[in-house]
């Protein structure tokens, strides 16, 4: 078993102490973590979005900050400010919550577009600029944002540029009957999150991130990735297809998934598995298609089911 697979197993088991029966979702979070990508968790209230983000943060031996997005949240509340210290008679920089390894941006769509935009530079370039001074963000850096897709009143939908910066958009979904029973019994006396310990150190995480980028991708698989993203651009129901950043994201995410599953090479199954979480949130569906009840996920699934997989010719 490889180092990455062992680390992944430890982390998945640890988070699994709190989040019951969502191993695939936890695995996807780990994929984003290995690629240094950001995650948008989108689901209805009470599913465990914030709990998942917290459990991930607790499982890593990294600094963790939480930003509760509200309409009156200002960019400086995120990035930090220069304040005048009367004792020293100097301006000092007070870093904002963005200066952490893991940043949970809860209910991100409740923040105003101005505040949301302050995250753009941080997420893409991993640096923050305050009063003409640019400071690098600590490594590793991961933004886990949550949003509620059903409550739209008093919210500001994320712009495309913002969405494109998230590597994956994932949902948790309702638990099954058995899982719900397990949740009740597990949370009966105390919250298991309180007793959760870190299982992955920062330097270990940085090392496996570096290793993950070295996974081999055959030329045929590379072409398969581009075929999927290109097909999204020419689909009749899609107004705006996946960007080259999306291709790159899918490529790196596939490498990470291959590493987690104990392989040192990427296979088309990895790409297929990640196509919807990595690409769906970046597509803009045409209005007429949306009115016909077609979502980005369903269109993308259809695209994936038509793009030929690089396998031997059977004729």
């Amino acid at each position: 078993m490889s180092i990455i697979q062992l680390a992944a197993k430890r982390l998945v088991n640890n988070v699994g102490e709190v989040i019951v029966g969502k191993k695939e979702t936890i695995e996807l979070v780990l994929v984003a973590l290995l690629c240094e990508g950001h995650i948008l968790i989108e689901d209805v209230p009470g599913i465990g979005k914030t709990m998942l983000a917290k459990a991930i943060a607790r499982s890593l031996d990294c600094s963790f900050k939480r930003i509760q997005s509200t309409p009156d949240l200002l960019p400086s509340d995120i990035t930090g400010i220069h304040f005048y210290n009367q004792k020293t008679s100097e301006f000092e920089f007070r870093p904002g919550p963005i200066m952490a390894n893991i940043v949970l941006v809860d209910e991100i769509n409740r923040a105003t577009p101005r505040t949301q935009s302050s995250l753009l530079e941080c997420m893409q370039e991993r640096q923050v600029t305050v009063d003409l001074e640019t400071m690098p963000l600590p490594r590793p850096f991961l933004v886990i944002a949550t949003q509620n897709p059903v409550e739209l009143e008093g919210t500001f939908p994320l712009p495309e540029a913002q969405l494109d910066r998230f590597l994956l958009r994932i949902g948790l979904g309702y638990p099954t009957k058995d899982e719900e029973g397990t949740i009740l019994s597990r949370f009966q006396r105390s919250n298991p999150l309180d007793s959760l310990t870190s299982v992955l150190k920062t330097d270990e995480l940085l090392k496996i991130q570096e290793l993950s980028g070295q996974m081999y991708v055959a030329e045929s698989v590379n072409n398969y990735v581009t075929a999927i993203t290109r097909a999204s651009r020419s689909h009749e129901d899609i107004k705006l297809g996946a960007s080259p950043r999306a291709s790159l994201g899918l490529y790196h995410a596939s490498q990470a998934l291959a590493a987690i599953r104990g392989r040192n090479y990427v296979i088309p199954d990895d790409v297929k598995h990640l196509a919807v979480p990595a690409l769906a949130h970046r597509l803009i569906v045409k209005t007429e298609a949306r009115l016909r009840g077609r979502s980005a996920e369903s269109i993308l699934s259809k695209i994936v089911s038509t793009v030929p997989v690089p396998v031997e010719d059977q004729s």
Partner: protein, 473 residues
């Protein structure tokens, strides 16, 4: 005693040659009929048995019909023994099921080639060849004829194998052994009959034999080094281009001539007639039944192949007859001795070939530097291709968007008995196709075995059902 020893060598050479092409032929059919399950060595062992048995019979002073009857009785016993040992080793001898499988295989030969029929056919041919050899003395012309026939058979089998994508594993060693036996047998037969190409008799025949075999093997080795698929492709490309050009020109001329004729004015179309309703129950009165069509196709195929074989045989016989006449005419010719000339020419030729070879290798190495795939990966991909083809033929083709593992799950649901083998083949294919590690020799052997087991799944299941049905009854 010396004579018997010499005759033994000649018999051995003839048997060796015939065994080689028979081996390749049976291996080809074995691959198709029994998934390489049959032991070819076991079947070929009948050849010496037939020779000795028929030679022993030949010493008896019985009527010819009686001798023939006894001889073919020997074949029946040998054939049944092979069927029992190779296919039905687990079934008791007293049960008649394995005996009934032979006539069943003959009845079903139009639809599929069964291993029982393959044994029946191959042992029949082998026994007949042994019987024929036992009744004759081996001579130089006979050795030549055997060589001609064997060579044509080998070429035809290789051609057929490449067409049906079932090339036997040991075809190259078998061909090399065939040539060795042929060279050995022809040289020995020629030396014994004391007929030489020149009037000089300075070199003893073992020396000539050794030199000629060495030279031919060396030439064969050089040719195999030089003639690569890339070279053949390179030679073929101009012909292909020229053919395309000629066809294009002909087409243009036809189009020009057609353009000279005035275009007819489109007339008024006749009213559309309604189609009479089709009654599926009624059927087609003039339709040829499927069984008759299969039989006719089989007969026509056999006839065409037979005619082609006959033509080839006739042409090669004429060529060799002409060569023999030419050589016979040269028996009294005097050859001017030129000491050292042969050696000089020979070394010059070798030097020329060597440098040409170096140039060619350098050229193709440059061309194939990128995109070269190791032979191990090629074999795995070939096996997977065969699996895809096989599954598609059995009604389960892979959808273009299915990954190997997804397709494996589909196949597993249809072939639950072969789950382990399907998984193994898929896993190895995925590693070879998308990964970087090369498979080991053991893996390739296991892969080959897995593939053969998958091919036999249906056969095994059918036989298992048959035997369980018998137990119940």
């Amino acid at each position: 005693m010396k004579l018997d020893w010499k005759r033994g060598i000649l018999y051995l050479a003839v048997m060796g040659m015939e065994a080689c092409w028979l081996y390749v032929l049976i291996a080809l059919l074995n691959n198709k009929a029994a998934g390489d399950h049959l032991s070819i060595a076991g079947i070929l062992a009948l050849y010496p048995a037939s020779l000795f048995f028929n030679r022993l019979l030949g010493r008896l002073r019985w009527p010819r019909a009686c001798l023939l009857g006894v001889s073919w009785l020997g074949w029946v016993i040998g054939m049944l023994l092979i069927v029992k040992v190779q296919l039905y080793a687990d079934i008791p001898l007293s049960e008649s099921a394995w005996l009934l499988s032979i006539p069943q295989s003959i009845v079903h030969v139009i639809y599929s080639l069964k291993p029982e029929f393959l044994i029946l056919l191959s042992t029949g041919i082998i026994w007949w060849l042994g019987q024929r050899l036992a009744s004759r003395d081996v001579s130089f012309p006979m050795m030549l004829r055997k060589f001609q026939f064997g060579l044509i058979m080998l070429v035809l089998i290789f051609f057929a194998g490449s067409r049906i994508n079932a090339v036997p594993d040991n075809q190259v060693p078998a061909a090399l052994i065939f040539f060795l036996f042929a060279l050995f047998g022809i040289s020995v037969a020629h030396a014994f009959e004391n007929t030489r190409f020149s009037g000089h008799n300075r070199w003893p025949w073992p020396g000539l034999l050794f030199i000629s075999i060495s030279l031919i093997l060396l030439m064969g080795f050089l040719i195999t080094l030089m003639v690569t698929p890339e070279l053949l492709q390179l030679l073929w490309t101009p012909f292909k281009w020229a053919w395309g050009l000629i066809c294009g020109l002909i087409l243009k001329v036809i189009q020009f001539l057609a353009g000279l004729f005035p275009q007819s004015e489109p007339g008024k179309l006749p009213p559309v007639l309604s189609m009479p309703p089709i009654n599926p129950e009624q059927g087609k009165p003039l339709a040829i039944p499927k069984w008759l069509r299969s039989s006719l196709l089989f007969t026509i195929g056999v006839f065409c192949i037979g005619m082609a074989l006959l033509a080839l045989w006739r042409i090669t016989s004429d060529i060799f007859y002409w060569l023999r006449h030419k050589l016979a005419d040269m028996a009294d010719a005097e050859i001017e001795p030129m000491p050292g000339a042969f050696k000089t020419d020979f070394f010059r030729l070798l030097k020329y070939l060597f440098f040409r070879l170096l140039k060619l290798r350098f050229f193709f190495r440059l061309r194939n530097k990128e995109g070269a795939v190791s032979p191990e990966v090629v074999s795995i991909r070939k096996i997977y291709r065969q699996l895809l083809h096989w599954a598609a033929e059995h009604g389960c083709p892979r959808h273009i968007s299915q990954t190997p593992y997804e397709y494996c799950r589909t196949l597993e649901s249809l072939l639950p008995d072969a789950t382990i083998d399907l998984n193994f083949i898929t896993q190895q294919y995925v590693m070879a196709r998308y990964g970087v590690l090369l498979p080991t020799g053991d893996t390739l052997n296991n892969l080959s075995r897995s593939w053969h087991r998958i091919k036999q799944t249906r056969l095994k299941r059918a036989s298992a059902e048959q035997s369980s049905g018998k137990e119940e009854s």
